[in-house]
């Protein structure tokens, strides 16, 4: 009997594999829900933005950002659960409101002002994957 080696959080997401490793990394942090019904997993957006909030909570850590490229856009981005992103170097003090970051994410479907973080680069150049 062949075992599915992706486990509970992964085992029914075979389609996502086709999108490549980077996508796997970003989606793999989501143990709470699938991503395809909320986000456009075929798109990646990168913006430089100011952190408006960073909430270390369950089921997913929340990152609010405000970008000001032309018009100001407020976005609410999700990361993985605290235990999962902690394993990737995030802490409850990684960023705070007012910090400037460069964040890459899959945007929300149908123009929703949300996204799921793929990676973030802090002002001092530290790159963290979600």
């Amino acid at each position: 009997m062949r075992a599915n080696n992706l486990g509970d959080s992964w085992d029914a997401r075979c389609g996502i594999w086709a999108l490549g490793f980077a996508l796997l990394v970003s989606s793999s942090a989501l143990a709470h829900h699938g991503a395809a019904s909320i986000y456009d997993m075929s798109k990646e957006t990168t913006i430089k933005a100011t952190v408006t909030e960073y909430v270390w909570t369950n089921p997913h850590v929340e990152l609010g950002v405000s970008s000001s490229g032309g018009t100001t856009t407020e976005l609410l981005l999700e990361l993985g659960s605290p235990p999962n992103i902690r394993n990737r170097g995030w802490t409850s003090r990684t960023v705070k409101a007012g910090d400037v970051v460069t964040v890459t994410f899959h945007p929300g479907l149908r123009g929703a002002k949300i996204g799921v973080v793929i990676k973030m680069v802090t002002a001092d150049g530290k790159e963290l994957h979600a």
Binding site: N5, D8, S9, D11, N58, P59, L76
Partner: protein, 250 residues
Amino acid sequence: MIRHLLALASAAALLAAAGCSKPAAAPAAPAHPNLSGSWVRPLGDRDVGGLPPVKEIPLTPWAAAKFKAERPAQGDNQDFANTTDPSLKYADPNGYPRISLHPMRFKLIQTDDYLYQLWEYNDNWRQIALNVPQDPDPALTWYGNAVGRWDGDTLVVDSVGYKDSTWLDARGLPHTTDLHLTERIHKVGANLVFDITFDDKGAFTRPWDAHLIYKPSPDGSMTENIYTISDELRFRERFLNQKVNIPIRR
């Protein structure tokens, strides 16, 4: 002179009687391995085993119909907004072995009488009573009634008494209250392996197996990851704009 010889002879006799005339025996090896420690299915690690694809699991007609009717939050048929996942809809405990399938840590604490398994996910835990018979009529619980005995270096765990409202995994794999798990827990190199046999005549036409591998976690600290309805509703309100009909505690 004779007194000195007698004293030496007496001393030699005392040393011999005290066992000092030959090297002390080496300490006896532990009768069984100590499984205590921190273990993890590392995020993104593809070499950790898992439950088989559903098409390889021998579902009864009842189980197949129930599985088809569920709306998991993940997978090909994901429906997060309207999910029937009891752990999301009601914040029910995951049950077993679903809770062990997250890419998170658990700790094992082994005593003479029990093996305790403490999961990082939801701060849940179970106890495995060692060297006692299985309860013939256990109460139904989220994590079952588990007893263990050693078979050489393998801990064989027998568990029954599971509530039937839990899913065996995030896909919505069902079971009945007749679920009977037999786990063989053993070390393979540095890793800890759980070979699990699932037997449930109401849900499966024959027993089937899963192979789960856990790596040692050098960082033993656990992060709080308690899942609540408040957290879920907050997430749905903020990310999905779903209307929340109860006050959310933040």
